[in-house]
């Protein structure tokens, strides 16, 4: 029988679909009667979705032109 702690150690692999079939069956059996793990799995999946969709740390493209200019200046300098 799988405990909640076991479920927590496998939840990452489960989200990434990286568990063997027999482990998956056991995890889902646990899931079918454990409300806490259902909540954690559901919210972990949503977390992942929010984090990937959030566009976090994206800067507008024009921010990078000055950086590119500096790099190119250094490279041209080195070449001559």
């Amino acid at each position: 029988v799988i405990s909640c702690a076991d479920f927590m150690t496998e939840i990452g692999n489960y989200l990434d679909g990286d568990v063997a079939a027999e482990v998956r069956v056991r995890l889902e059996a646990h899931l079918s009667h454990c409300e806490t793990c259902q909540v954690v799995l559901d919210s972990a999946r949503k977390t992942l979705q929010i984090v990937t969709d959030s566009g976090s740390f994206d800067l507008p493209q024009e921010t990078f032109q000055p950086i590119a200019d500096r790099v190119m200046a250094r490279l041209r300098e080195a070449k001559t």
Partner: protein, 591 residues
């Protein structure tokens, strides 16, 4: 509730007790068959073997197959029922919606996405699975036992769709609107030749009891059952349904064999047509007459009512969208009773089940087919928006190859193109590692200078963008060690007891709708920046940059187990940090 009346059954009718125990209620599709309780018993045994028995596939995987196949057939009864079932066994509505909208975009594990691809392809009658499809499924991590179960569950899904349409069963719950976009398989190479199986390995079970039963009832052991010896419990239950259909009830055996023949022909199932032609011949129908029934029953020398019976099942198999109460009424006008109609609909639906299993397994015909059916022309109805299949990474041409070649050839300006193309990504990686925007900009510059220096050692084994991210990671880590030696990335202290979740309130269904994009973004950025660096780096590379575990391990010089455990910890910490903002009561009460 359906086109036919229901009969009283005892409240302790065993199949209904089993359904109540398993589903929590008796689905209306079985109530609609109470005129023939023995049939329900036989179906319940098959449900037990195919759905309730836990072997290779999980209940969620099976329900997902049932759901997408029902959706592909536009079957409201099935979509409604399997949607509810998936919710009940723990899948979030949002995820179910995503799977319906297109499972290839639903972030499903590769094996699960492959499973649904396989099931959807198989569920479309007349587009036989080939050895290549089975090879693809195996490559996606599915065992032969899983593939066999997928075939059986898909066949059962097809059975339920046909049965619910044929009987006009009302949904068990508030019906759901179907918004479904199955992948377009027509763009993928599909064999136009009849594929020869069997595709799956079988297991030797010795002279099983099933063989003796078949030998006695049919005079031979059909290859269709030989190909399923891995699951003798299923074979036994299938034979049970077939026996009940063929040897009990009010329609004659010949009428039933004709249904098997006509529906198999409508499904272009060469195997089914060969078997049932042969059986009809042994029952006394001349071969050319059998051929005529398979080809066009309206022109066969049959009584009008028998033609009407065959026309009803043909329409059910090929035009389910147009099928309705009038099809049933027409039969009743010809003198058929409600029990006759029920038998005919179940017989037709079970033929679809058998045809689907045969298409999936590629079982060889037991008799030389008098007629070979090729795949049907692709059905266009549900395939309005073809979605390009993503090119596997290893075969894709690196979009940067041209610019890299130019830089190597001395064209310095081409490097600026590469900088501008990738600086966003490199910046994101670095801000994730360093947790500071100004430092990250400096590190971006440093990264591109290093990349230029080492361009000679870039071998093109990974994509340029991945290679660049690994340089960025190293640069970021170097900055971190120099500037903040205390924020260590290397210590992997032993953490004995697993992570205990503290926030355990359920989240809202659609968490992103409660905040503007800017708000969500700042919540995420805040939470990510608060993570300890060693977790933050892995979350950034895996979840933001979508690198594989292997690529991340290589970029950070860590082993895969370390990557996995840090990613898990990082994700769970992010979940804890975001939970107060997205948990249910916090947001849904206030307008």
């Amino acid at each position: 509730m359906s086109y036919l009346r229901e009969a009283e059954v005892s409240s302790s009718f065993p199949p209904f007790e089993a359904f109540r125990e398993h589903f929590g209620f008796v689905p209306k599709i079985y109530l609609a068959q109470t005129l023939l309780p023995r049939l329900i018993e036989a179906e319940a045994a098959l449900v037990e073997a195919v759905l309730f028995q836990q072997r290779a596939l999980s209940p969620i995987q099976k329900e997902c197959i049932l759901l997408v196949v029902a959706a592909a057939h536009d079957n409201v009864y099935g979509v409604t029922r399997h949607y509810q079932r998936l919710r009940l066994i723990g899948m979030a509505e949002q995820q179910i919606d995503r799977i319906l909208a297109g499972h290839r975009q639903a972030r499903l594990p590769t094996a699960d996405a492959g499973l649904l691809d396989f099931a959807l392809k198989l569920a479309r009658h007349g587009a036989p699975i080939s050895q290549a499809d089975v090879a693809t499924a195996r490559a996606q991590g599915l065992s032969d036992e899983s593939i066999l179960e997928a075939i059986l569950v898909t066949a059962w899904a097809n059975f339920l769709c046909s049965l619910s349409t044929g009987l006009g069963v009302a949904p068990d719950f508030e019906p759901r609107e179907i918004r479904h976009q199955p992948p377009d398989f027509s763009a993928e190479s599909e064999s136009t030749e009849a594929s020869i199986g069997p595709y799956l390995t079988t297991v030797e079970n010795g002279p099983g009891g099933y063989a003796a039963v078949l030998q006695e009832q049919f005079g031979f052991v059909p290859n269709l059952f030989r190909a399923q010896t891995r699951r003798l419990d299923v074979v036994g239950a299938e034979i049970g349904v077939l026996e009940t259909l063929l040897f009990t009830g009010d329609l004659t055996r010949v009428q039933k064999e004709r249904i098997l023949l006509v529906v198999s022909a409508a499904n272009r199932n060469t195997y089914g047509v060969a078997v049932h032609s042969q059986i009809l011949t042994t029952l006394g129908t001349p071969p050319d007459e059998t051929d005529q029934i398979a080809l066009d029953h309206q022109r066969a020398r049959l009584p009008e009512e028998d033609k009407a019976l065959l026309e009803m099942v043909r329409r059910l198999a090929t035009e389910p969208h147009a099928f309705g109460r009038s099809d049933i009424e027409r039969l009743q006008e010809c003198g058929f009773s409600q029990r006759h109609v029920l038998e005919a609909v179940v017989m037709a639906s079970f033929t679809i089940f058998l045809n689907t299993v045969q298409f999936g397994l590629g079982a060889k015909p037991d008799f030389t087919p008098r007629r070979m059916f090729g795949p049907a022309p692709p059905k266009k109805a549900h395939l309005s928006s073809p979605e390009p299949r993503p090119t596997p990474r290893e075969f894709a041409v690196d979009p940067d190859a041209e610019a890299i070649a130019k830089v190597r050839g001395g064209d310095l300006d081409a490097f600026e193109v590469l900088i501008l193309r990738h600086s966003k990504r490199v910046y994101r990686t670095l801000v994730g590692i360093l947790g500071n925007a100004d430092e990250a900009r400096d590190a971006v510059q440093e990264t591109f200078l290093k990349a230029f220096q080492h361009l000679g050692s870039f071998e093109g084994r990974a994509r340029f963008s991945t290679w660049l991210v690994s340089i960025a990671s190293n640069t970021g880590l170097q900055f971190l060690r120099e500037r903040r030696p205390l924020d260590s990335l290397d210590d992997d202290e032993f953490e004995p007891d697993g992570f205990r979740p503290r926030q355990i309130r359920a989240w809202t269904e659609d968490p992103e709708q409660f905040y503007s994009r800017t708000e969500t973004r700042s919540l995420v950025e805040g939470a990510v920046l608060k993570l300890p660096a060693k977790y933050r780096v892995v979350v950034m590379l895996r979840d933001m940059e979508q690198l594989s575990a292997e690529e991340t391990a290589a970029a950070l010089g860590l082993g895969i187990p370390a990557i996995k455990s840090r990613l898990l910890r990082g994700r769970l910490m992010l979940r804890e940090a975001l939970a107060p903002h997205f948990a249910r009561s916090a947001k849904e009460v206030a307008p």
